[in-house]
Amino acid sequence: MGFKVLIQTEAIDLGKEHGLLQDSGGSVGAIATFFGTVRDFNETRKIESISIEHYSGMTESELKKILNEARARWKISAGTVIHRVGELHVGEGIVFVGTASSHRKDAFQSCEFIMDYLKTNAPLWKKERHDEGEDWVSSKESDQIFASSWEKGSH
């Protein structure tokens, strides 16, 4: 049984994190992971790099709340949420979410749920750098819709 939330500047060690989930108990039969990376474009521009800001203490506690909510909704025996902050370049990892369960549905759904709630609830802010300067990213209405879809029990 291992549940953890990390905010860090260092790169995410995917092999290590996957291994920890895999070794989290004999009942584990399914691991679902999500890995978000920096892409080189947005709706209108080519992106060179991004920087991510957080609210120390609150970001961690909000992510823990989301992880706990996932534990209450699905049978998961381990869960990891790692979000990087600071300057990140195209191709680098931003966020890792992984859940382990006895069955795939619980793993898949809890992993997606955590990402959808992270997008709308965790105090993290992204700024994109492009050839003409830099801009704070605007929140997307679609993210609100994805998050609220879990409330309606449509999954």
Partner: protein, 83 residues
Amino acid sequence: MIKLVFFASLREELGCGSLEIEFNQPLRLSALIKQLEEKKGTRWGKVLASESVKIAINKEIVVNDELLSDGCEVAFLPPVTGG
């Protein structure tokens, strides 16, 4: 003393990351924003009272016009964009 913190686009818009204000008597959030507006200008009131801005007291989101106590930290958060 009440500590105020402003994040991301709000910090840049206001040109201020954090500030401390003297605590004289219990006051509500709305009164705090009004006070800031009087001291710092109408733009502050407009920016901080915006519907998209969320407010956290001691790192917990609040939705009501809470009463602030001495030593608390009030954070103003623009819409989040992590992930």
